[in-house]
């Protein structure tokens, strides 16, 4: 089903918003009034409803099916969260209202902070980062600021394991660090000896994901933390995989100094087709003085929002106070689950991944399969050898079976990686159907039914898209000529 572009349906006269035409006696625009056309297409409300409902139906969603996406924790998004975030007392509150009129909002921030600090056993939390990568940035800024305060601004190297998310090296580079890569061991985990070998007076710290992107808990994480600290560095932990251990392991007990938490992965705020997220960062005692503005302080019976400070604090990394709408959703989720429920969710997430591993292991090859995985299980493409089917083809064939593809070709440490994270939200029925489909597809691939894979998906709104053409001849906005040409076809 094709849905025309907005600009092919609407025009400059149509509008779905009734407003009075007002008289303006003398304008105060100082001659800066608009002379060029806006060239915006308008739709009446019935047309807009159709356009966006029909477009939406071209999307997969977690409400319609499973996303076995490693590293992206696509879990159920409770609708209570949405309802709470829309209460006028949260949604219709301006960030710069007098503090006396927003005590409920500050209490939400305080309660969320308390939960995060308790779950991680850390000393402080900076709520304001707008997403995970923004949290990484903040965390690394705090590390940089702390070292500069110690007069160690010369530490310009950050250690990053090969298997890290792309945001890790990008963040380090963004702040002017150079990246020193750490190889993984044969079992997919990081060797404390390799870290020790890479440490030195030029090293600011390490960015480590734990559980790591191979789905494994780093068994030497405490030794690694100790080694980094001993060398004068800090331990930044990528918290993307916190869902595996919340309520079960407190990262503070592992020696981390900073860790961002994706509220949209771990605490169920919706992905929304690519955001908004929220990436609060928990900080150790050593980094707490370098938390950015704003932060909260108790003041008698009430709460005070500290927006300015002399001295160590980092400044601010966004206007206002961060993603309040996401705080409300995450706190609602935490209160619903409780501490007991969060721990159970983590255990179920790990149980689900290991169940998939157990059911598929005979057919699929798990390169690090000799040990239990955490909340995600990693396979390589050796089971596809000689079939003419690639990991990509295999993943696209999942679409025809009603599943979102798994994460492919990541982490980079295994060939043709397939990383599968079911999350705790999937029922045994769904897991079994997923495993049945995976096994049936593997049989089909090995039986030589290559066309089913190489031409997949067959049943989706589109066949495979020509990404090369998109990049070589970028068309990044609608041009009227194109519309006319199409209309004439």
């Amino acid at each position: 089903p094709d849905e025309p572009l907005l600009f092919e349906i609407g025009d400059r006269e149509h509008s779905g918003v009734d407003l009075p035409e007002v008289e303006i006696g003398e304008d105060r625009l100082g001659g800066f009034g608009r002379r060029t056309s806006l060239d915006l297409a308008g739709l009446t409300e019935p047309e807009a409803m159709r356009h966006y409902v029909r477009l939406s139906r071209l999307n997969m969603s977690i409400d319609a099916g499973m996303y076995p996406l490693g590293s992206c924790t696509m879990k159920h998004n409770p609708r209570l969260n949405e309802r709470m975030a829309r209460l006028p007392g949260f949604a219709d509150v301006h960030p710069l209202q007098p503090v006396s009129t927003v005590q409920g909002a500050l209490a939400v921030m305080q309660q969320l902070s308390d939960w995060l600090m308790t779950l991680t056993n850390t000393a402080a939390v900076a709520l304001s980062p707008k997403a995970g990568a923004h949290g990484e940035l903040l965390g690394m800024m705090a590390i940089k600021a702390a070292q500069e305060a110690r007069g160690e601004g010369h530490r310009r190297v950050v250690l990053v394991p090969e298997s890290a998310h792309g945001t890790n090296p990008a963040t380090a580079a963004f702040l002017g660090y150079s990246v020193r890569s750490i190889d993984a061991r044969a079992d997919g985990t990081v060797d404390v000896e390799a870290v020790k070998a890479a440490l030195g007076p030029d090293v600011a710290g390490i960015m480590l994901t734990n559980p790591n992107t191979c789905g494994l808990f780093e068994p030497q994480v405490i030794e690694i933390a100790d080694a980094v600290h001993a060398a004068g560095g800090f331990f930044y932990c990528d918290g993307a995989n916190f869902n595996a251990i919340m309520g079960v392991v407190r990262p503070g007990d592992l020696g981390i100094d900073a860790m961002h938490i994706n509220l949209h992965k771990t605490f169920s705020t919706p992905h929304g087709g690519g955001g908004p997220g929220a990436g609060p960062v928990v900080l150790s005692e050593a980094l707490a003085p370098f938390a950015p503005l704003p932060f909260l302080r108790r003041n008698g019976d009430g709460l005070e929002l500290v927006e300015h400070v002399e001295g160590e604090a980092l400044g601010r990394i966004t206007a206002f106070h961060g993603q309040m709408g996401m705080y409300v959703r995450a706190l609602t989720y935490m209160l619903s689950h409780g501490g007991d429920g969060l721990a159970q969710a983590a255990k179920d997430a790990v149980l689900n991944a290991n169940y998939i591993k157990a059911r598929l292991e005979g057919t699929f090859s798990a390169p690090f399969g000799g040990q239990p995985c955490m909340h995600e299980v990693l396979f390589d493409d050796s089971f596809l050898e000689g079939t003419g089917v690639t990991t990509l083809d295999f993943a696209k064939a999942l679409i025809d079976e009603g599943f979102h593809p798994m994460t492919m070709y990541f982490p980079l440490v295994v060939h043709g990686a397939m990383l599968i994270e079911p999350t705790e939200s999937e029922s045994l029925q769904t897991l079994d159907r997923f495993c049945d489909v995976m096994l049936e597809l593997a049989s089909a691939a090995r039986a030589g039914d290559a066309e089913r894979f190489t031409a997949a998906p067959h049943a989706a709104p589109r066949r495979r898209l020509d990404e090369t053409r998109a990049a070589r001849q970028p068309v990044l906005k609608w041009e009227e000529a194109e519309g006319r040409a199409e209309a004439a076809e």
Partner: protein, 447 residues
């Protein structure tokens, strides 16, 4: 627990299939010292009705903007969003979809982003726009970094009319940097950044309407910057103003960044919002953030994909233009739907209505004894000088249920010259009664 689908029988069956005795066995790799054996000091799970009651109590402890006359702006504006916008964005297929990395099953999100990019480009008068940033402030910081990459120069001039928190964010992003020149706040719309231009300047950053509400001359700034090889970055915090003001692109802007909250998005105590970033086509490979492009599928049908991702962290890792990954997809959708509903005709009417409301407000304020309006020009926001510190007046009016605006001292503390300044905005939601209540309240507070 209502969000966890397994029964105990399910769990037992799964453990048996895995071949372990209990769930704890799956955590064998965790150092025993770090394994949480006892429950954390947190409340236990709670029924929906109890959680709802708790959250409602917290919500009721806030004064909602709609509870009384309201004149706050300063980078976040209270507008009326049609009910259909929020209804649509709550559709499962929008709300709970993933980032559109698999284009075959993400054409809804991708086509919407393509339309969004087109809308932003048209609105700002630029050639290309990206698929959104976190918000206006971080988009501003990214624009500054982008300008430095493009020009390979280091000096950046921030106008005194730039929102103080935007300035702070740029400072944080750039770190200690003596090449970052922040001009003093310019409540009267005075001060000329152009005097500071030199051939080491990568960019000048000008906000219009500026933080104090003044409209700034972009054409003159663009000409001066271009003459010396620098770029003009224009910041817009009230996107509705572009319904009535000339497009920055038509006046020579090289990069336009904006806060898009005014369209489609609630105040939300400051977030989530949606940052806009638009520029010239020739700069596209230096842009941060996601881009959606048109292409065809294997059957030759038009389709859309994320493209030019060799700029991005998940491909380029440490060589990326930014570390941004998740952006503001759903807020961009809300923006795009609201703007589609308005269309050109509606946006112009909306902008005119905002300006008319602000005129009425300005006229009312100007008649108040002891109050001086600082603005010769404005769109829907303005600054007044009071005879007493503005923060006290705002606090007094808040006690009466009137949110009177922003005391400038809140964002620029320690600068006595701004202590008496108050920034106020009016929108289509500002009624004559609201204005009368404010004027009356000010009169009494100043008496």
């Amino acid at each position: 627990m209502r969000y966890l689908p397994h029964s105990e029988a399910d769990r037992a069956h799964m453990l048996a299939t895995i071949g372990v005795a209990d769930a704890e066995a799956l955590f064998a790799a965790v150092p025993p010292s770090a394994l949480q054996l006892h429950a954390l000091d947190l409340p236990r799970h709670s029924p929906e009705l109890s959680v709802e009651a708790h959250m409602r109590r917290l919500a009721q402890a806030n004064h909602a903007a709609g509870d009384g006359p309201f004149f706050l702006g300063a980078g976040a504006y209270r507008h009326h969003v049609p009910a259909s916008v929020d209804h649509l964005i709550q559709r499962s297929e929008w709300l709970t979809a993933y980032t559109p990395y698999q284009p075959e099953i993400s054409q809804g999100t991708l086509q919407m982003l393509f339309e969004f990019q087109t809308q932003v480009a048209h609105l700002t008068g630029m050639e290309v726009a990206n698929a959104s940033m976190y918000d206006g402030s971080t988009a501003t910081a990214e624009a500054v970094l982008m300008a430095k990459r493009i020009t390979r120069r280091n000096r950046v001039l921030l106008s005194g009319g730039l929102h103080p928190q935007y300035r702070d964010v740029v400072r944080s992003y750039l770190g200690e940097d003596e090449d970052l020149i922040c001009l003093s706040p310019s409540p009267e719309g005075q001060g000329d950044i152009l005097d500071r231009l030199d051939d080491r300047t990568a960019a000048i950053v000008i906000q219009t309407p500026d933080f104090f509400g003044h409209l700034r001359d972009l054409r003159r700034a663009a000409d001066a910057a271009h003459a010396i090889g620098a770029l003009l970055i224009v910041v817009v915090t009230e996107i509705v103003s572009l319904g009535l003001l000339e497009a920055p692109g038509a006046l020579g802007a090289d990069i336009v960044v904006a806060e898009g909250q005014s369209l489609g998005n609630a105040l939300n105590f400051g977030g989530p919002y949606v940052g806009l970033l638009a520029t010239r086509k020739s700069f596209v490979r230096q842009m941060p953030g996601r881009l959606c492009g048109e292409t065809v599928d294997a059957s030759g049908r038009r389709g859309f994909v994320l493209t030019l991702s060799t700029r991005e962290q998940h491909i380029r890792r440490e060589k990326a233009t930014s570390n941004i990954c998740t952006n503001s997809g759903l807020c961009a959708l809300a923006f795009s739907i609201h703007l589609s509903l308005l269309g050109e005709a509606g946006l112009v009417r909306l902008a005119r209505l905002n300006h008319e409301r602000a005129n009425t407000l300005a006229d009312g304020l100007a008649r108040l004894e002891g109050v001086r309006l600082l603005n010769g020009t404005f769109f829907n926001e303005m600054t007044i000088a009071l005879p007493v510190p503005a923060a006290e007046v705002v606090e007094a009016l808040a006690m009466r249920g009137i949110i009177a605006g922003l005391p400038v001292s809140r964002l620029l503390p320690g600068d006595p010259s701004v202590d008496n300044l108050l920034v106020l905005a009016a929108t289509e939601l500002t009624t004559d009664q609201d204005i009368s209540a404010l004027i009356e309240g000010l009169r009494e507070a100043l008496a």
